[in-house]
Amino acid sequence: MPRFLHTADLQVGRKYSQFDPDDAVPIADERIAVVARMASLAAERKVDAVLVAGDVFDLQTVSDRVIRRLFAAMEGFAGPWVLIPGNHDAALAECVWTRAQRLGALPAHVRVALRPEVIELPSCNVSILAAPLTQRHTYNDTTDFFDAAETPDGWLRIGLAHGSVTGILPEDIDSANPISHDRVTSARLDYLALGDWHGFKQVNDRCAYSGTPEQDRFRGNEPGFCLIVDVEPGQVPKVEPVRVGRYRWQQIAFRVAVESDVDVICAALQGLDVNDVVQVHIEGRTDLAGQRRLMDALGQAHARVQSLSHDLGDLRLLPTPDDIADLHADGYLAEVIAELRDAQEDDVSTIDSHVAREALAILCTELDSTARAGK
């Protein structure tokens, strides 16, 4: 019974400009590491072939080193790898693939379909109907030719394509490369391996998006999987998602309404580990002590996780009279603090609430350090 590892959207070479460079480099490197993990998995599960359904590279002009590293990572599985270009790495006249060929970086067991073709895998009597993207944006269905493609009798017909199945996915997801929702039937396919959608999604019994094996954005729908697919003629294929991704990208929004909310947030931050890539947004209102605890918790979490950024711009700082007393903010300083505290309310003052908050934070920090030095 033929078995495949179906993956897609490796997006190798992607940079993460939203992170500090220190955080971004390991996250980028992980996109190649996951390929090595999938190679191991393929070897372990003794698959007949690895199918990569497009967007192997994130950019056409990735560096030579990245190209070499990617193919090196495929060495862990010596069986055939069948790759098609997607919209990010379309098979243009001059593209990442032509460069890889010139570099001689493509190993013998890796086959790239740079034009629509049928790739035959005689070892398992499988014909791969490969529909690469040869333009940056394609508005016609590249899998049209599947219907008329000839394959040896009795061989499995496996489709490999990159695009959006019409009427299934939300309109805004890379919808420029349409794929007929009826293709499996019209082309008599035993399985259609798709790429482009970054989360795992089974379109129908014989058609699935594997999603990207390593998450690359906060907005994700079940990313971090590859699929082990067993296909038997006349049978519904068995599709098994296997988690291979490392980083968990999370956007966490908190609201501080009462003092105990701070405890909740601290506990949540406590639960993060080295595989987390986190964006924390905290709004609401707190006193100086709450702010201090939150900052401490964020600092500690930052030290643990791969990447953490936080936005406290909407967290109002409301020093209590005790706070102010502790800060030795007497006289006009107390008045300034009160004014800034009130100015954080958007519609109360002409002052930008974020500026007011910053000013208050600076003042409290200064006073706090003075007060501590005094003690």
């Binding site: 940079k15 002009t61 560096s63 243009l92 006249a93 006289g331 006009y332 300083l333 600076i362």
Partner: protein
């Protein structure tokens, strides 16, 4: 605070004791001349409060010659404060001690000093003499001599006390940490924003610039990426075109058509080769026919030329004749003109003669007149010369020897004197006779009534009577008579010498000589007038005039006789001659021109004659030979051949035209070019493809998008940083601004009471002016008048105004301190010496005003300046209570003091 009693001993010149037993609660004026000890008293009060009693360095307190080991300067001050009586006593050096008691509490030593310092508001130096920095409120209110205009430092040293006082009077709380914090925040802000304009700087500016630079870099990179993508697309297009063309092979069809066109063109070119000899022949025949015709035409022209030459000769002859006529006419006119010149010349000659005659006649008249005049002169001169000679002779005839005349005169004088003497001694006889009586004296009858003197015996005879002899009584008469006789003799001799008989004669001759001499002189003068150079000179001139007249007469006679008809003047005649000559000259020129024209005409005629002859010869030659007829025959032959050749040529051309060789040629060119273009385009595209491939490989290897992603990461990081810094900068800006606003408002509120006091005093001295307090509590600019256009900083004021303003401020501080319950005492040592009378008056008014609230001690050496304070000045020396006689020096000093 008010002093109630002061006692001091062994301080400077007060070797004994000085005690001021009573102080007024308000103003106290102490006066004394220089050196009287005013400053010593002030120094003592200051020392009592401000100096540590243990201090070993304040030896200026010691009387001169005294040492710290033997002397103990002592000051005792009684004062009241807060309704309580206080006593402070300090002894320095030898028996150093300090005690202070107040309301039953007594302090000793350091404790006493600290208690007083806390009460008054000052401090002590860590060691040594007290320093201005520690003086606090006393430093501000106790004005030392010459320090009245210094305010900034004393205020600085007292500021903390003043602030405390201000805060006590106002129920507002200043921030304890505010000022330090504000300074720190400003420093923080200055790291990010420029202080003046609030523009980004430092790390903030750096981030802004970096983002901008990255934006530009990314934009540039985007451009390159766009180009790269376009190139990739173009490569695909080119490859597709190339492949399509390679398959279609469009150049094959073109090649076939080109070959067909070339064959057709070859056939038409065959016809062209036949055309050339025919064209050549036609050209030659045309040329030879033209040459023959030209030759014939040449003969015709020769004849025409001959005729033309004949006409030209005739014209030349006519011209020559006309010129000859003209010359003859000019010759006649010229002869006439010459005659006119001769006539005019003759007239000039005649006129010249008449001119000479008139001159000679004039000369003759003049010579005759001169001769007549000179002959008259000679006549006069001769007569005058004769007269002169006559008078000169007369004078010589009557000339006398001058010594003889003198002697005669002397003798006559002596005789006259002798006669007088004789008459004096003579006897007088007076006769008065009756008529008819004859009387003689010495024989001579006497007149009836006469008197006679006789000096010698005389006799009178009276007729009828007899004779009467008379002898004069005196003996001298005879003597005198003898002398007379002697003189008379001498006279006779002298006269004889002179050649005269009597002296009357001499006198007569003298007169005649004188007259003759005068006459001679007159005659000489007349002669000199008539003939100054002598008669002979006149005679010579006369002779010359005569010969001139004769000469003129002779010339006149030699001249031709005068013409009958009148002549023009010589000038007129000359002018006429000049005109005639000019006319002649003009005519001569005209004639010369005519002669030249004639010569030209003759030459032309000659040349025309030659030409005419030559032409006739040439024509004659042609006519004699048969050349013209031969040429005519040749021409007819050639023309027939030409016609034939042209017909053949026309036929051939028609053939060629039908073959359309130009179109064929164009077609071949077009097809060839199209073929070339196709092949070139194909090759070029191949090159383009190759180039593009190379370029894209190159660019692809550069990792444009990779680099862009890197840059984007950097940009986002920098943008985050910039935004953070911006937020921080804005926060700091807001914070600093808020704090400054608050602080300023607070300061204003705090300073309000002090400002009120300041305004109070200012009104009294500088009406209509205002001074606003600065934050450091020193007075700011003095603004005079409402317009605020006369503004002066404290430092710009005059010395006097500075001192006045400073005092006003000090009084205001004092009021403030008083209000806050702090003790105040104002000491002025020789203050306001630079104020004029009017200002001083004002200042006395405010001092009086201040003294209602504060005790004021005023020390002066000019008590007359301070009469307006309503208090009598007390003389300082009156408070000396004892003088110590511990040393000789002291004793002496005190005696001197008593004497004063």
């Amino acid at each position: 605070m008010k002093l109630t009693k002061l006692r001091l001993a062994q301080i400077r010149q007060f070797r004994g004791t000085l005690e001021i037993p009573i102080f007024e609660p308000g103003l106290n004026i102490f006066w004394g001349p220089n050196e009287a000890g005013k400053s010593t008293v002030v120094r003592a009060i200051r020392a009592a409060y401000l100096e540590r009693y243990k201090s070993g360095v304040i030896d200026d307190l010691l009387p001169r010659g005294e040492t710290a080991s033997t002397c103990s300067p002592t000051i005792e001050v009684h004062f009241s404060s807060g309704d309580k009586a206080h006593v402070l006593s300090k002894t320095f050096f030898h028996k150093k001690r300090c005690s202070y008691s107040c309301a039953g509490k007594a302090y000793e030593g350091d404790e006493a000093e600290d208690a007083v310092a806390a009460l008054l508001g000052f401090g002590f130096a860590l060691k040594g003499a007290s320093k201005a920095a520690n003086w606090g409120i006393p430093g501000l209110l106790w004005i030392q001599q010459g320090d009245g205009h210094h305010l900034a430092d004393p205020v600085d040293h007292a500021r903390d006390y003043l602030r405390t006082a201000l805060e006590l009077t106002v129920s507002a709380v200043a921030s304890t940490a505010g000022d330090d914090l504000l300074a720190r925040l400003k420093a923080e802000r200055a790291l990010l924003l420029t202080p003046e304009t609030g523009k980004p700087r430092g790390a903030y500016l750096d981030a802004v610039n970096k983002v901008a630079a990255l934006d530009a870099e990314i934009a540039a990179l985007d451009g390159q990426i766009g180009t790269y993508h376009a190139d990739v697309d173009r490569l695909a297009t080119l490859r597709a075109e190339q492949a399509q063309e390679a398959a279609a092979r469009p150049w094959v069809a073109f090649r076939t058509r080109l070959e067909g066109a070339r064959a057709a063109l070859g056939a038409s070119q065959q016809l062209q080769t036949r055309l050339k000899p025919l064209v050549e022949a036609e050209k030659n025949l045309t040329t030879s026919s033209r040459l023959l015709a030209e030759q014939l035409q040449g003969y015709v022209q020769l004849r025409e030329a001959m005729n033309g030459r004949g006409e030209a000769l005739a014209r030349a002859q006519a011209a020559r004749e006309s010129a000859e006529t003209s010359v003859a006419s000019w010759d006649a006119k010229l002869a006439e003109a010459r005659r006119a010149v001769d006539t005019a010349a003759a007239v000039v000659a005649a006129a010249t003669v008449e001119d000479g005659r008139a001159a000679l006649l004039q000369q003759l008249d003049m010579a005759n007149a001169e001769r007549d005049r000179l002959s008259g002169v000679v006549e006069h001169a001769v007569a005058q010369a004769e007269a002169l000679a006559r008078h000169t002779a007369d004078a010589a005839a009557n000339a006398l020897a001058s010594d003889g005349v003198q002697r005669m005169d002397a003798i006559l004088l002596a005789l006259r004197e002798l006669e007088i003497q004789r008459r004096a001694v003579a006897t007088a006889i007076a006769f008065d006779l009756r008529p008819g009586m004859q009387v003689t004296l010495d024989g001579r009858a006497v007149d009836r009534s006469s008197e006679h003197r006789i000096s010698a015996a005389a006799s009178i005879e009276i007729a009828g009577v007899g004779r009467i002899g008379i002898v004069p009584g005196q003996s001298d008469a005879a003597e005198l008579a003898a002398q007379v006789e002697a003189k008379k003799l001498e006279l006779s001799k002298t006269l004889a010498a002179l050649g005269a008989r009597t002296f009357e004669e001499v006198r007569l001759r003298q007169e005649r000589h004188r007259i003759a001499t005068a006459e001679a002189s007159t005659a000489k003068q007349l002669l000199d007038l008539t003939a100054p150079k002598g008669v002979e000179t006149v005679r010579a001139a006369l002779a010359a005039a005569g010969s001139a007249a004769d000469n003129a007469q002779k010339q006149l006679q030699a001249l031709a006789p005068m013409p009958v008809a009148p002549l023009p003047s010589l000038a007129e005649a000359k002018t006429s001659l000049q005109f005639a000559q000019q006319a002649l000259q003009a005519l001569a020129e005209q004639k010369a021109a005519a002669a030249q024209a004639l010569a030209g005409a003759r030459a032309s005629e000659h040349a025309a004659s030659d030409e005419c002859a030559k032409a006739r010869t040439a024509v004659g030659e042609v006519q004699q030979s048969s050349r013209e007829a031969e040429t005519q025959g040749q021409l007819v032959l050639e023309r027939a051949k030409l016609e034939e050749t042209r017909a053949s040529l026309g036929d051939l051309r028609q053939l060629i035209k039908q073959a359309r060789p130009e179109e064929l040629d164009l077609e071949v060119k077009r097809l060839q070019a199209s073929l070339d273009a196709l092949q070139t385009a194909h090759q070029q595209r191949a090159v383009q493809i190759s180039n593009l491939e190379g370029a894209l490989e190159q660019v692809g290897a550069n990792g444009l998008e990779d680099r862009r992603a890197d840059l984007e990461a950097t940009r986002q990081a920098q943008t985050r940083r910039r935004d953070e810094l911006k937020l921080r900068a804005n926060g700091l800006q807001l914070l600093v601004q808020r704090m400054e606003d608050k602080r300023q408002a607070l300061t204003r509120r705090l300073q309000a009471p002090l400002q009120a006091r300041l305004d109070h005093y200012l009104r009294l001295v500088f009406p209509g002016s205002s001074i606003s307090l600065r934050e450091d509590l020193t007075p700011g600019d003095l603004v005079r008048g409402a317009g605020a256009n006369d503004t002066a900083a404290f430092g710009q004021l005059s010395y006097g105004a500075q001192e006045q303003t400073a005092l006003i401020s000090r009084l205001a501080y004092a009021d403030l301190l008083k209000e806050a319950g702090k003790p105040t005492l104002i000491i002025l040592d020789d203050a306001l010496v630079h104020s004029d009378a009017q200002r001083l008056e004002h200042m006395q008014r405010i001092l009086y005003d201040a003294a209602q609230r504060h005790q004021v001690l005023l020390f002066t050496c000019q008590r007359e300046r301070w009469t307006g304070l309503g208090v009598a000045a007390r003389e300082l020396r009156s408070f000396v209570t004892s003088t110590s006689a511990s040393t000789r020096a002291t004793a002496k000093s005190i005696i001197t003091s008593d004497d004063l």
